[in-house]
Symmetry: D3
Subunit: 189 residues, 6 copies
């Protein structure tokens, strides 16, 4: 089980009300390679992955929920002072008439999140490569987001998140080696 | 952010290996009214609900993740000693060839979870009625699950979860009253 | 069975050609809480709801189809004089290349309608809370739509529809009480 | 708008409680080529089809809702005396834990209905060929359903519905000719 | 099996960098009536269609993949010189943050391709009417696309593709006659 | 463009009519990690991947279509002598009433194929890790399929396909190294 702690993993600041950018950040809230997808993917795989790497999945899954909260906070801050007309103007009209300023698990185009974005095969190597790919894809998304904003406060948070994905990818690559060594070892004895 | 504590909210026991029942429990793992849907629905609404009821959403959301973990543990225990042939025989063949014994966010028919099961409108009363309905629907699902198993150990866990949904529904109904009173109060002064 | 009567439940007028507003109205045509979702939800629940409330579901379901027709008429009137270029300009380019000026059951973002928006549990209270929530959510959507148009003719039709949702929510709340009383009564004798 | 008349278009009888067959009939309730798809497809196209064929779409759409009601009645009669265990045994376990005995817009495999099954292009010939194809596909589904039941009462209702699809296909083919002649005529003068 | 030949079926030229038009062309890449849908629909039906028309399905399916490649090339050429800011400006922001300039099987609104757009019934006439409808719908989409661009180079390619759909529709109509004659013949002897 | 050659990449034999196994093979026809997903994923990425690895994507994509054809042939052979009753008995009843014996792009549970199973990010490393993961997941699926059949003829074809996935994964891993080296080289000069 989890215990909620009322703080963010890393401080979230935004330089200005910018609903257009909020729209694009939704990609990392409810998109194919976003934080929801990441958190749920690893949380789900914990039950059938070998014991030696359960900890990695558990740690990273829990951290991804903290990232999801950071993205939610960014979107909230970027839109909270916007009028309905400003939301419409920024391309958030379809979102507004359905959700007002509420968050929703959808990507930047408004497509609702689906579990078909993620996978669990029961095979440890297949699952870990799925996870490495997930982190590489999330890293790319953060890069595209950083590329289209000049809000340095927002960029700071996004760069932190991008770096975490790089670290996670590395940890999953190490987990692949652990599994492979373990198999070699078992073959020898 | 959340901190993981390595324990279950309530002990999960099962009386026997029963993959057929595991298949039906997936409804509460990745189905329309399951624990994933509940946890994500409330977590998402926290940002735009009035301050007075954020705590309710936060508490219940966090608890629903603990319930999701209980359901996952039940499914794992009901299937861990089953051979591939037993999984196929139990109606889990389609699940097996895609996921082996791994968990996946899908309902009992194998339909992947989708965010379209849940909603957030930004309107506090609409969101709270969405939440009440969610709890009433989850209660019903637990009832149908209890109706088709005679495993008393499993029933014990399912009854605990059903009761929690009743309690949550009650808390959301109280939250509706808090919002309404607040509006009345504001009209008076 | 149903008999078609060639008239609208309430007159639909629009003040001007406004394809941008037509796009947002699609939310109530083919969106999560739109009239199609409402009509189909209640029509479907009639078979397993207790006799005492079948009439309510039947009446409201039939009326929601009339509302769907009103929304369709609004969208048609708001777009019928628009050129392809005007549709593109108004954010309807993606709709145009797929459907020209035809209607389609999709929300304002262009996501096709899915039955996962609605539910039927067989449990009368769960189903009625589902219905109350649906009406509250539809009410909210109408509010957001009214908020972003200054076409008083269109607002008139939208306000009529919003009021009907309030009335329906009330009728479903009464139905909940009818079911509860019935259960109490059965317990006593 | 529509007026509900409390009668079926054609009497529905079933020879026995047969939940297995009810499961397969769901294909015509909420499947790709089922009655819901047909009714909604034609109802939606009425706004942009040429005046000369609006009546055909309107009539057939209204009739398809009556067919949907017949299918619903068949499913209800085939399952109403079944116990939960019998539903599970008949392959309806996944349906039961989600919906009890309630109906739901899903196909025989449990996949929820989606508007992506249908189309509206704004082009009259394209839309009418879409409709002809729809009727031919529904005819085929009725044939496959008739092939797997030996309940003569149920077959009687299914044969009536299959015949209606053949008639509808014919009417849509005539509508194609009306549109084509009209275009020729316009070219001449 | 297939062998790749490094050439396009018909030369693809575009007059200018035009990411806005690239967005709309995605409808024919990954939309309901696009080239992917066409190619996969016919390829899939080959196994159960009568021998006499397998060749038609095989030829047209293979050609549709060549069309898909032409559309991909058009989109690539229309966007390759665009900066991220230009993509955002052209309404491709949601696409950019998810896919950068990569292609993806989605329609112009960003809805991912789904097999529910296509059908296979095993009944030869139903399947061929499905195919005729598909070609008529694709023809309409090409018309709407031609209507909103004034790039004569691009129009040239789109007109070629539109004509091919007309030819394919004709061939499928002939196949319907072949099947019908065959059935008559079989009845006579 | 592609040219069709009327032969299979590898001979497909099956030992007996076995519709139950046909149902599970659908996972590799239209499932998340099946051959359709593989072929379309690589075909789509060719436009934005660096020149040095386009050939790898093109070759493997074309080969995956040949694999798709092999799977289709297996399913066809496993079901062609089955009666409707035998299909129903084998768990293919839902498939039969919708598609008769025709193939369809769905997984073993009957969920239609969706492009959300695959991804293209524009970032070469992210895309190649996506591809490695895809091959590892397909390898796992073939293993689960081999595990539940004792038809040695069918196993022979499945083992061939599993081996091809291992080879493809290796080629994608090499492509990762090529991209990385290229980046290093560019940094040096």
């Amino acid at each position: 089980m989890w215990v909620y702690e009322k703080k963010l993993q890393y401080p979230v600041r935004v330089g200005k009300c910018d609903p257009r950018m909020a729209k694009y950040l939704m990609e990392q809230y409810g998109g194919a390679d976003g934080e929801l997808a990441a958190a749920l993917r690893y949380m789900n795989q914990r039950y059938t992955i070998p014991d030696k790497v359960i900890g990695v999945l558990n740690d990273i899954s829990t951290e991804e929920f903290a990232h999801l909260e950071m993205i939610a906070t960014m979107i909230f801050k970027l839109t909270k002072d916007a009028t309905p007309d400003q939301l419409v103007e920024a391309g958030l009209g379809a979102h507004f008439v359905n959700h007002d300023s509420a968050l929703y698990y959808e990507n930047a185009a408004g497509v609702p999140w689906t579990a078909t974005y993620i996978q669990a095969k029961g095979d440890p190597l297949a699952d870990l490569y799925e996870d490495i790919a997930a982190e590489e894809k999330a890293r790319a998304t953060y890069q595209w987001l950083i590329d289209i904003t000049d809000d340095v406060d927002l960029q700071d948070g996004l760069k932190f998140l991008r770096e975490r994905e790089v670290v996670h990818a590395q940890r999953f690559k190490e987990a692949v080696e652990i599994i492979k060594e373990d198999r070699e070892y078992k073959k020898v004895y």
